[in-house]
Amino acid sequence: MPAAYTVNKILQNDRVTETVYKMKVDLGGAPQPAPGQFYMVRGWEGNDPLLSRPISVSDAGEGTVTFLYEVRGRGTRLLSQLPAGGQVSLLGPAGTGFPVGEVSGRVAVVTGGIGLAPMIYTAKSLQNCQVDFFCGFRDQSYELEGLQGAVQRVAVATDSGREGQKGFVTDLFSVADYDWVLTCGPQVMMEKLGRACLDAGIRCLLSLERHMACGVGACLGCTCKTAHGAKCVCKEGPVFRAEEVIL
């Protein structure tokens, strides 16, 4: 489905935790996104902030898309201040997303922090798989309710130990128990996991983050190194196979 640039109505924009918000947007007639895709989101006028912000699809329904996002800086703070009924510009859906049709068997979905966002929609979209969902948070989990029924097991790790197991999300499981590992989170976590999968011969898909300007493959600002040369994370990603990207 080709990307579009549209101005859309915000249906809801609620606080989920201290720093995380959830925004549901009416897509109107705009194309429906696939799991792992994202949008370049803009909710302000003028030149400062200048660039739109890449935000993943954390859920999608009948003509709606939901974003789960963490307030990190100016852009996400401005997004968090938008009222329901207000407007937001979306460029997308962008990127290739997860090849969900290809994934089967025992699947570990592994997330760190707000890397959770794209994986909720992705986990829910997997068919004919036994999905275990492992998620790491700083202090507390959020937005896991929607996974009930869609996945077999949800396990939580937190840095503080306040909830679930204290420590790294990667300590919750062994990659050897799975046919596929799908992950999104901090670069270091993904590198560690990617290498473990490569070593163990487990198929692994990672969703990468890069600073982006255009979101359409034109500026070459978001490239990552791959076995086949530089690739645009915005267009040829954000999802890559572990064996393809040079970690």
């Binding site: 080709p2 400062d48 902030p49 982006m212 255009c214 500026c219 070459l220």
Partner: protein, 301 residues
């Protein structure tokens, strides 16, 4: 809105700037890119380039610093894979040629000038490639040298893209005109930097990188005004244009056409807004052609 740019007829005076519009096709989902006056290709080099390591984009107040480093598939791959769409789409085709040594420029220009392009835009001003690129664009003498040499092998209209980092932009423009340029485009990006204060190191692996976007517009406009007063060949103005009013400032300063770069990232079809806005302005003020407003704000008319 038709605009003659050194013998090439553009549908209108709005050109998508090099490096911000890919090879046109990337924006085709958003609008009919054939409605543009022209498209300047991503900067090309003979053998192609991987580009720079590390973070490549950093946002600044009303601007963007980029350190792409001329990533491109090479002139030959361009001719094979990208030119066909650009040619077909209906906008004038401008091939932007970068490089880091004289021979690269000459080989690239020779090859491109055999192809079905409308204008060769010679980028002597990329701040993102070490030992070259911008080096040619700083001092008049080296600019004169490379432009003269390229002129000899180039059979297409030759537009030279100037760096705002030139020691003296007016002398630079005159040197390029003297060396045989058919047109000038300016400005490329300003050499700039950003520091990550938490990690206490420069954001870019290359240390310096290029600033573009609305932030630079007032400086770019001043340079375009100065250059338009100093040369006889047509000048294409750019730097921070994000609205019809911005574009009109450059046309009123004396530019024959404009390019739109960073603003394409803000709204993919922003060039159409600009084209329509210029059209409405002309109508509202009773001008029959873009050429009628060229330079009207100059005090030396």
């Amino acid at each position: 809105m038709r605009t003659d740019l050194c013998g090439v007829e553009l549908k209108n005076p709005v050109i998508a700037a090099s490096g911000t519009f890919g090879f046109g096709q990337e924006f085709a989902p958003f609008f009919d890119v054939g409605r543009l006056g022209g498209i300047s290709s991503k900067g090309l080099t003979m053998g192609g380039k991987y580009g720079n390591e590390g973070q490549r984009i950093c946002e600044t107040p009303s601007g963007v610093i980029n350190s792409i480093g001329l990533q491109n598939p090479g002139v030959e791959a361009f001719l094979r894979d990208d030119l066909p769409f650009m040619r077909r789409c209906g906008a004038a085709v401008i091939a932007n040629l970068g490089g880091s040594d004289l021979q690269g420029y000459l080989d690239g220009a020779a090859l491109l000038s055999e192809a079905d392009i409308d204008i060769l835009e010679l980028n002597i001003s990329c701040p993102n490639v070490k030992a070259g690129g911008m080096a040619f664009g700083i001092q008049c003498q080296s600019a004169h040298q490379v432009v003269s040499a390229v002129r000899k092998v180039c059979k297409k209209p030759l537009m030279v893209k100037l760096s705002p980092n030139a020691e003296n932009i007016v002398e630079m423009a005159r040197a390029c005109e003297d060396a045989g340029a058919d047109a000038l485009s300016l400005v490329n990006t300003f050499q700039a930097m950003a520091i990550d204060v938490e990690r206490r190191q420069p954001v870019f692996a290359n240390l310096f990188a290029g600033l573009s976007g609305p932030a630079i517009r007032p400086i770019a406009l001043r340079m375009v005004y100065q250059v338009c007063g100093a040369v006889k060949i047509p000048v294409v103005g750019l730097g921070g244009i994000a609205s019809a009013s911005d574009a009109l400032e450059f046309l009123l300063a004396g530019a024959t056409a404009v390019q739109v770069g960073t603003a394409n990232f803000v709204k993919p079809d922003i060039c159409l807004d600009i084209i329509d806005g210029i059209d409405r302005y002309l109508e509202r003020h009773g001008f029959a052609a873009v050429s009628e407003i060229r330079g009207l704000a100059r005090t030396d008319r």
